[in-house]
Amino acid sequence: MDDRHEEDCGCQEYNELSRRQFLTSAAAGVSAAAVFPAWLPKIVMSKAYASNRDIIVSVFMRGGADGLSLVVPFADANYYTSRSTIAIPKPDDARTTKGINLDGFFMFPQAMAGGTVAGTGGLMPAFQATDLLVVHATGQLNTSRSHFDAQRYMEVGKPIDPALVTGWLGRHLASIPPLNPTAPLRALGVANGLQKTLVGGPKTLPIADPTNYTVGGAAATQAQRLAFMQADYAASEEPLKSAALDATNTVNLLKSVNFTGYQTANGAVYPNTSFGRALRSVAVLIKSNVGIEAAQVDIGGWDTHSAQDPLAGSMFRTMQDFSNSLAAFYADVIATGNSVTVVAVSEFGRNVRENGSQGTDHGRGTVMFAMGKGIAGGRVITKNWPGLAREQLESGQDLKVTVDYRDILAEIVQKRLGNPNLSFVFPAWTPTMLGVTR
């Protein structure tokens, strides 16, 4: 083990972590070098971090989201020939149900665009305010079309490597001092089990419903029972020990947060969906200033093998939930000046040509989104639109991946989250900065 790590690390919990792991390994009679864990930061912590770094909200669109419905390349004629029943009409179409032009080449479907006033739903206001960036023909270089392989690779931030179990956001948190050194909770995954994206993050817990994070029972004895846990789990083992201690502190912390009486800014209304409620809870936590610096939120429903119907059916509803929830978060949190960056990714896109049941099967390239005052938005960026003609497609069926999603995330990690340790957050990847931040 390299001693420099501990000397140069300004982060107390990181020091404790590495020392404890070292002792455990030594006690087991195994050479520490042989078991040097893959998650341990091999980095030098800089003393000078920007103190005004953003909070990050990371969204995973699980199931393989159809980028060609979310942000439609209407000027590519092959979109219409490939999708005879599920295409969205062009902005200048005579019909009332049609797309809304973004830049002359791409358009939002109505489910994504929504209205034109912030807080009334839809993402057009954030786009027009140049706070929402779309990256198209993006995804990962690994060609797996398996949901769980592709999700795992994307969350870990590196394909294939079975030794790497931590997530990119977990490693970000592990390699930067806390925004608030006394915060009991630095990050949460709004889920029952910690999403892989966050694994490895210090003071990071899965909390499925932050509004109901309690040990229950009689109020009169609650403090006494929590004290029991705190003492009892102090003798436990990692990772349960830290999780339990963080949990007891977090129960007390969340008790002090007024979720039910929360008033949104700008009249924002969060949809009463699991995604909308999750973002609302994250908004409350951010505004409560309790030291949260990252949240992972998931939205499912994207695995549209049949009856996709982006105009009125299942894809329409999923997109509407996605856009209205994020629009509420934009109006409530970002438009009001909080330093927050949102990113949204999906494991892969879907076939360009629709299948025999008016759906689309697993594909490759798709879209991702970044939103915040520090994002150079109001644009749809691609690296030379690869085209939708059959000969332009990967394996003759899929939109090519021209931008590795890590290029976008790495720039945000460095420029918006103030973490220079990119080779630790995204091992074996040298990112190309595309100017997605301001």
């Binding site: 179990v165 990692e238 349960l240 999780a243």
Partner: protein, 456 residues
């Protein structure tokens, strides 16, 4: 936080027999420990392995009366309320795990239902037959039999889109997962070309009616295929049902493949013994697999030996294990398990709801963070005294002193091996207020919440 996968057991857990009971059951109750002591190490292991000799009539009678849909035909299940079917299968699964004395058998039922994971949102009632005819039938049988039964299971074929596959458009989903997840393992030495070829071999394996496996020669790809070093010559539709033999031949090849022996051995070692099995252990169990034709009992007998158990690290109970252990320990009067089953969702392990085919993780770093819902659940359970759902009886705890109550918890929750640190903490709590039903229930909740109760 960093996963430490080698957690030394509590000093109080040094007895090899106690270690065996914790590994072979959903919790060492007083009765379970007494049985083990009566039979001795090998005797108890044999008793659990020869599960059909353990009379299970009382449990099956209760299951039949409380959850009658499970005995119904596919035709009846098809027209039944999907939520009801799901709830009945889930509650019966909890009930059997908690109250059947065939404990090791049910630990393996859980293991295999993750190995052959299916999401009931996708397969619905078909899973009832899969759990009965694949998982419960073969959980302690021969792995090759189970794999083949699974390949003929309408539920599995529907789940992994085999039912969508045809000669003109083969679907590779099942062909990939049967090698990646069910037999060879992801590093088992197959290629993408093998996946494609196997998907063509399996065209025609599909489902008819309300859930009947059929081989349909009309959608089988009869051209020649080469995979995993085997060449299957071209056939013709005139061969009809004989076309299924291509697939049967490949299943036979898969179950006899050395990678399968290693992969299944590794997973079973991780489930029963240690999150970090050694190469020596993997090789030893893989040899047993090869020598016995994948006999699961023989493999378990080789894994749970009195040399490896004493040095095995503790494992964190997954939520289902934790919840079932809490039922065994509190031994409530059960009218329904609806409330308890609902709690599994909060705990993060709703049954038959993991949507991807890899099954719920058995990784401490996945589960450790979700501890508050366990504490919340412990409180819900210990407070239950409902004659229409579930009632935890505190009379025995209240019959003596607070010390005697904690002694009884030691027996019921830890089989007499409650760590001292847990005992002292519970004693302090129970004596910290008036000794009454409420205090006892809170203390029972703390016993379920305690650190020591999360491990096995």
């Amino acid at each position: 936080m960093a996963p430490n996968e080698n957690v030394a057991a509590f000093a109080e857990w040094e007895s090899t027999l106690g270690r065996l009971v914790r590994r072979a059951t959903y919790g060492p109750t007083a009765a379970e420990m007494a049985k083990a002591k009566e039979l001795g190490f090998q005797g108890y292991l044999n008793y659990q392995l020869n599960y059909t000799r353990i009379n299970d009539d009382a449990v099956e009678t209760a299951v039949a009366s409380k959850w009658p849909l499970l005995a119904q035909t596919s035709d009846v299940l098809f027209s039944s309320d999907a939520g009801q079917v799901r709830q009945q299968l889930s509650e019966a699964t909890i009930y059997r795990a908690a109250f059947s004395q065939r404990q090791l058998y049910h630990r393996m039922v859980e293991f295999w239902s993750d190995h052959f994971n299916q999401d009931m949102d996708k397969v619905g009632y078909l899973l009832v037959a899969d759990m009965r005819d694949v998982i419960r039938k073969h959980a302690l049988g021969k792995f090759p039999d189970m794999l083949k039964a699974s390949a003929h299971s309408p539920s599995m074929l529907a789940y992994l889109d085999q039912t969508q596959s045809r000669n003109t458009a083969p679907n590779q989903n099942y062909a990939r997962e049967i090698m990646e997840l069910h037999t060879l393992g992801v590093d088992g030495g197959y290629t993408q070309d093998d996946v494609a070829a196997l998907s063509r071999v399996l065209t025609g394996w599909t489902v008819q009616g309300r859930g009947n496996f059929v081989f349909n020669p009309a959608i089988h790809d009869w051209t020649a295929k080469t995979l995993l070093g085997v060449t299957i010559p071209a056939g013709s539709p005139s061969l009809g049902q004989a076309g299924i033999n291509e697939g049967e031949q490949m299943l036979e090849l898969l179950v006899n493949h050395p990678s399968t022996a290693r992969y299944i051995s590794t997973k079973m070692l991780m489930w029963l013994l240690t999150p970090t099995p050694t190469e020596t252990q993997i090789s030893a169990i893989a040899s047993v697999y090869k020598a016995t034709g994948g006999d699961i009992k023989s493999m378990i007998r080789a894994i749970l030996n009195d040399a490896w158990l004493p040095v095995a690290p503790m494992k964190l109970r997954r939520p289902f294990h934790f919840l079932v252990a809490s039922l065994r320990s509190t031994n409530p009067t059960v009218t329904t398990l609806t409330t308890i089953n609902g709690q599994l969702n909060n705990l993060g392990q709703a049954l038959f709801a993991w949507d991807t085919p890899d099954g719920y993780p058995d990784k401490i770093e996945y589960w450790a963070g979700n501890i508050v819902p366990r504490w919340n659940y412990a409180n819900v359970l210990s407070a239950l005294k409902s004659t229409t759902s579930l009632a935890v009886d505190t009379a025995a705890y209240l019959a003596g002193s607070p010390d005697a109550a904690v002694d009884l918890m030691d027996q019921n929750f830890f089989g007499g091996e409650m760590p001292l640190v847990t005992r002292n903490a519970l004693l302090t709590y129970i004596k910290g207020g008036t000794f009454n039903d409420t205090r006892v229930r809170e203390t029972l909740g703390l016993a379920v919440s305690a650190n020591a109760f999360q491990w096995y």
